[in-house]
Symmetry: C2
Subunit: 127 residues, 2 copies
């Protein structure tokens, strides 16, 4: 699989909330970085972070709007959508992925955390 | 000039706080989008936004960590640094640029606004 195929399959596994399939595509030593938070390092830590992140959503759609590829590197522009209760949380994200030997070794997402938190609070009534 | 050359010259002009040189590289109809805020549309609006944004900084360094190019599109990963008073504000950013006929027609930056605001408040004593 090419690096962009690995990234697309990884995103499809996340949309299916299939954490086992998603983490099968990441390296043991992956660094997962939600900028500017501290990196989450290792496959197990990524699995538990994804579980926590995906748990409240009954549906997950990560729409890739654009994808650029160069060697081991993939950058994409996405709209990450999470159905929470009756509404959708929609987060604009730019992602950076390094893929080595068919496994994601680095995953870095850029987004506005306040936007995520405000939408989550509105959808869960914690506003 | 290729699209990536245009983007690099644009960033160099911003680092020099040369708003005239920077906006000479953008299309009249540019859409400048600091996600998830409302788009800033048109060369003049970009010029005044850049002026406001760059004014408090005595030094500006936008370090490009990675750059991917595909046709008219450039995506980069940057550390945008602004010297404010005695300290540096350092903002991790992912940027997306569309360049048509040597002019930037779309510029979209992904970053955490709260990170920017907290650093600015700490550096200006407004914390």
């Amino acid at each position: 699989m090419s690096p962009d195929e690995v990234v697309r399959r990884f995103i499809a596994a996340i949309e299916a909330k299939d954490i086992e399939a998603a983490t099968a595509l990441v390296a043991e030593t992956i660094s997962y970085e939600n900028m500017p938070m501290a990196p989450i390092v290792g496959r197990d830590a990524v699995a538990s972070t994804l579980a926590m992140f995906l748990e409240p959503a009954t549906d997950v759609e990560w729409v890739t709007l654009r994808e650029l590829v160069d060697g081991d590197w993939v950058m994409n522009e996405r709209l990450d959508r999470f159905k929470i209760g009756d509404g959708w949380l929609e987060l604009p994200v730019a992602g950076v992925f390094e893929v080595v030997d068919g496994r994601i070794t680095l995953w870095r997402d850029y987004f506005d955390m306040g936007d995520y938190q405000r939408q989550m609070a509105a959808l869960t009534g914690d506003a």
